[in-house]
């Protein structure tokens, strides 16, 4: 199984117009809804914000990975959103965020999908990987950049 099992090109948005954190969450969640990943936008975003309240998912270098395990999620998936404008995110390095990887996991998450997520999470610690995803200018490049395993 590879990244394509949890990432659909339809869930990659390259010019998000949101200027605030919660707007950006709604925009990506809306995308999930349209692609039949989640059942309820508001409920899912609330769960993401609840997780965000524990401590920020802004992992630095302009990247954030908002995520939640939620009863509104049907299948494990990620969505990628590149922002047209930097947003304030309360990241661990206090820098604004330029790219969001939103992760949806159902209450009873499937092991194989979680293994991919775990690998992806580890990949964020790799500088070259971060460079590639920040540089990706279209859906195909982004998909390829994420397809590292």
């Amino acid at each position: 199984m590879d990244i394509s099992s949890i990432l659909d090109k339809k869930n990659i948005i390259l010019a998000m117009q949101s200027k605030e954190k919660s707007d950006a969450f709604f925009e990506l969640a809306q995308c999930f809804k349209e692609n039949n990943i989640i059942t309820d936008v508001k409920g899912y975003v609330e769960d993401v914000l609840k997780r965000e309240a524990e401590f920020s998912t802004g992992i630095g270098y302009g990247i954030a990975i908002p995520h939640a395990k939620s009863k509104y999620v049907k299948t494990t998936a990620i969505a990628v959103g590149k922002l047209a404008h930097n947003i304030v995110y309360d990241s661990i390095d206090n820098e604004p965020v330029r790219i969001l990887f939103m992760i949806a996991v159902p209450e009873n998450g499937n092991d194989a999908h979680l293994k991919i997520l775990n690998k992806l999470a580890r990949k964020f610690m790799d500088e070259n990987f971060r460079k590639n995803i920040l540089a990706a200018e279209n859906e195909d490049f982004m998909f390829e950049a994420l397809r590292i395993f």
């Binding site: 992992i59 630095g60 996991v105």
Partner: protein
């Protein structure tokens, strides 16, 4: 250098793995072997006991509670998980340099929590539970020796019997002799774990030898226990010789310091108290029967084997040599009522005593009748503020009746077993009445003070 660790975050989706990756990667760059167990939605990369054993450092990067029992005694550093994601390199360098590191001791953490809830009471109860078998076995063996005749254990007595002497040696000298040391060891063990046993037991033995009784033993036990605990926390050793800490260094230091405290600090006021009381008693004269009786009774039951008890019994024995036989009779009856009163209470008011106390109550019948006051000590240790006043009240009544009615005794010891011997006890009927009255007073006092207790039958 080998480093192991655990990472865990609230959802177990992202940070758990990022922290693990960051720590493992930076560790590798710095030339260390790092393995991080990821406690995400499922636990992966599980640390084996051998890996934990071999690790020089443990890094815990968790944003939720994880079980740390596996890391008992390891050098542990705890960091917020987002710091591990961001600053893994710095965390590892700091850890290797020994910054922010503490030795993880589960037992102590748990104990500290319990201290807040039950503290001193729990330590006392542990001590009592250590001591009880010695009191019961010792007391019954002494009673066995008495069956051969009250002086059958004494080689200089015509009734000498070699079996009686053996019973007396086993029960009276050894088992009873170990009572206070074992009590102290139990209390110190409860406070500080195994490293506390040595200093606690030595403190109890010293309390005995300086005549400080069970109260002195308890004081020593608390000093020994808390000192051991303090040393365990404060002494940090290189890993290579760390096993020496609990085995040699801490027991050695705490035993030495506690011993010095017992001899030079506790011993001094005990001796002063004994001397002052002796002088006071010697100057008092023996005119005022009932009042002196009350005093004798209260002193006998106050510290059971401690300086106050010793002062009054020494004083009374000394008077025997000048032909005054009233005070020693009062001492004996006052020394018999504490175990008897408690034994009676455990029968009449079962629910106010624990199951162990009820068992101890059975042996208290034999101990009380044999004038072995120590049978009451486990009760007194477990609940001093209710039990000791009750014992003092009963003993005071018994001694006052005895002395007021002019009872006398020609024997300094022997309890009920000397009563049938003709002419040993003067005014026998009143002496028996004093014994009964004192026991009943103690029984009802202790039952009243413990009225809120309600244990299962």
């Amino acid at each position: 250098m080998k480093i192991v660790g655990v990472s865990a975050c609230p959802t177990g989706i992202a940070h758990t793995y990022m922290a693990a990756e960051a720590l493992e990667k930076c560790g590798k760059e710095l030339g260390y072997e790092v393995k991080i167990e990821t406690q995400g939605i499922e636990i992966e990369n599980i640390l084996t006991p051998q890996e934990i054993e071999e690790a020089d450092l443990v890094i815990i990067a968790c944003a939720k509670n994880v079980d740390l029992t596996r890391f008992e005694g390891k050098r542990v550093i705890e960091v917020p998980i987002d710091k591990a994601v961001k600053n893994a390199r710095q965390i590892i360098m700091d850890a290797v340099e020994g910054k922010n590191i503490s030795i993880f001791h589960l037992a102590e953490e748990e104990k500290e929590q319990k201290n807040q809830q039950t503290g001193v009471y729990k330590h006392l109860m542990t001590g009592v539970n250590f001591m009880l078998p010695f009191v019961i076995a010792g007391g019954i063996l002494i009673a066995c020796s008495f069956m051969f005749g009250i002086h059958a254990g004494d080689p200089n007595d015509p009734s000498y019997n070699i079996l009686a002497a053996a019973f007396n040696k086993i029960g009276g000298e050894v088992a009873f002799g170990l009572m206070v040391p074992v009590l102290a060891a139990g209390v110190a063990y409860s406070i500080a774990g195994k490293p506390g046993i040595c200093s606690g037991m030595v403190a109890g033995m010293l309390a005995k030898s300086i005549g400080a009784g069970f109260i002195g033993g308890l004081a020593g036990a608390f000093i020994a226990g808390y000192l051991t605990l303090f040393l365990l926390k404060k002494i940090h050793l290189p890993k290579s010789i760390q096993s020496l800490k609990g085995l040699i260094i801490v027991p050695l230091l705490s035993t030495c310091i506690t011993g010095f405290i017992m001899i030079f600090i506790i011993g001094t006021p005990v001796k002063f108290l004994l001397d002052t009381l002796s002088t006071f008693l010697n100057n008092m004269g023996t005119t005022n029967g009932i009042w002196i009786g009350l005093l004798i009774g209260m002193m006998m039951a106050s510290d059971m084997g401690g300086p106050i008890n010793k002062a009054i019994s020494t004083f009374s024995i000394a008077l025997m040599s000048s032909g005054v036989y009233g005070p020693i009779a009062a001492c004996m009856v006052a020394g018999m009522t504490p175990p008897l009163g408690l034994a009676l209470a455990t029968v009449l008011f079962k629910q106010r005593f624990t199951v162990e106390e009820r068992e101890a109550g059975k042996s208290c019948w034999v101990l009380g009748l044999s004038y072995i006051t120590e049978g009451a000590i486990p009760f007194a240790v477990a609940d001093p503020f209710r039990v000791i006043p009750s014992l003092m009240a009963g003993s005071a009544i018994a001694a006052a009746i005895s002395l007021g009615a002019g009872c006398t005794s020609l024997a300094p010891h022997g309890g009920i077993w000397i009563l049938p011997i003709p002419n040993v006890i003067g005014n026998l009927p009143m002496y028996v009445a004093a014994l009964l009255a004192g026991s009943i007073v103690t029984c009802f006092c202790v039952a009243f003070l413990k009225r809120k207790n309600n244990y299962e039958l």
